[in-house]
Symmetry: C2
Subunit: 286 residues, 2 copies
């Protein structure tokens, strides 16, 4: 079933978007392997996720896994989508503005990475997204879609926020993982680096900030960064909003729009485009 298709990306697409049909039978199964992988990575981090250990945990030989999963990389893809389905995607109420909703998405991602720290450790491009991952992405996109930003900007905003969450999460994961392995806390370890500190006195700004306690009572990196990021995005949204009367193209079909000499500027080229935009706005809001 899986044999010989290790290099075939379409295979993992099939696995990701599989029908959950097959009733649980004794023996191995894709779901069992994925779940065991998640448990293992939760406990030992992504570096601790080896095919041997997954198999051991399930009471089978290493190679038996390859009957169900093409390889380790693909197992990780499957694990990612598995946990992406955990939160119902509740986020914020639909009545809130885009900013509150986008912030809620970021926090949901943050929370997910708190429960499954290895998510932030997943690296390497060309990860095929599964249904749960896509659902989250779609939600973020739709949150930003009606801000008046261009399509490319919408995509860029969502990517920016997503990568921010990931990179901040990775920071914490690495610290936690190192603590776990070494048994020495982060503060303890850095506190013991006196041979380093004594070389830092020559740097005036660093020393001053240190003396003023900037390193002792730091800002929360996630909260601080998220606030700055959203501020920056909001500024762009405002700029686009203020220049909305300069719109020369219909936001739906792209055709040129005649602007009236006075009164509210037009965004749509025709009533049908306006109606189409309305339907899109309300679509999916069950």
């Amino acid at each position: 079933m899986t044999r010989g298709r290790a290099g075939d990306p379409d295979h993992v697409v099939e696995l990701l978007w599989r029908e959950g049909g097959a009733e649980p039978r004794p023996g191995l199964s894709l779901d069992r392997i994925v779940r065991a992988g998640v448990e293992l990575a939760d406990a030992e981090g992504l570096a601790g996720l080896s095919m041997r250990k997954v198999a051991e945990r399930l009471g089978f030989t290493t190679m038996s896994l390859y009957r169900h999963v093409p390889g380790r990389e693909q197992l990780i893809d499957l694990m990612c989508d598995e946990v992406a389905g955990e939160t119902a995607g509740g986020a914020a109420a639909a009545g809130d503005g885009w900013r509150a909703q986008l912030e809620a998405c970021a926090r949901a991602g943050w929370e997910l990475r708190r429960r499954h720290p290895w998510l932030a450790e997943v690296r390497g491009g060309r990860h095929v997204p599964g249904p749960n991952t896509i659902a989250r992405y779609e939600q973020m996109l739709s949150t930003v879609a009606d801000t008046g930003l261009t399509p490319a900007e919408v995509i860029a905003v969502v990517g920016l926020v997503g990568r921010f969450v990931d990179s901040e999460a990775l920071l914490l994961v690495e610290a936690a993982e190192t603590e776990r392995r070494s048994g020495v806390s982060e503060e303890e370890w850095w506190g013991g680096r006196e041979t380093l500190f004594e070389r830092l006195y020559g740097y005036p700004t660093l020393t001053r900030l240190w003396e003023q306690g900037g390193f002792d009572r730091p800002e929360d990196p996630f909260e601080f960064g998220l606030a700055r990021l959203l501020d920056g995005i909001e500024l762009l949204v405002q700029k686009r909003y203020e220049s909305r009367d300069e719109i020369k193209e219909c936001v739906v079909c792209g055709a040129p729009v005649d602007q009236p000499a006075a009164g509210r500027p037009r965004a749509y080229c025709s009533a049908s485009c306006r109606q189409r935009a309305y339907r899109r706005r309300t679509a999916g809001q069950d």
Copy 2:
């Protein structure tokens, strides 16, 4: 010399901050190993950096390296500081505002990661910084230090921008590395994922953005993100500036400051603190 100190972080401090004394002798040396490591990682990425290959490149046995470097991790630390010393740190002119200077720092980091992509791949906490790394950090801190932000905020801003550069660089590295190994370009690969695309039509926003060409003509993630980030930071700086007349504590010594009933609000508790602040501001501007 190195033997038996593999677990000792102080050792790598000594190596990083070593005096460049020792004249080049035949045989191995720390510098030669580090340079070979940089070359190798430049060519094959951090994953391709193995002790075996470094040794091979130098014409020695693998274990000979361990006479000069405690281990792979520490070699990477040394490589990082080696390349951090490459750019003279020119950045922007001192006359420019903090924003232009901070942007220049970010671009310098970006440029460095373009030349040494593996820099972005370096992971794991507790990396001991060397003199070149610290010099860059000091420069960024001093750039943001005179914005009126609190010490903790200054540190948070520098960290935020630094991690942003890193995470965006990592994105490109991973793509490039995968292309190199697979021989298939990113566009080609994603273009061939039709079995995936046909499952995405059900998502309205995603589909619409796709149809509008948002994925074909994307924003540059680095430029877009940097602009948003700096905008957000500028907003904070403005907020702090506007509320500067509410300052209740001397920004130098932290003592309470009596505010005059009228006129320009005081920032310093005394003339000596004002003078000290001036000296700090002008220090290091050779």
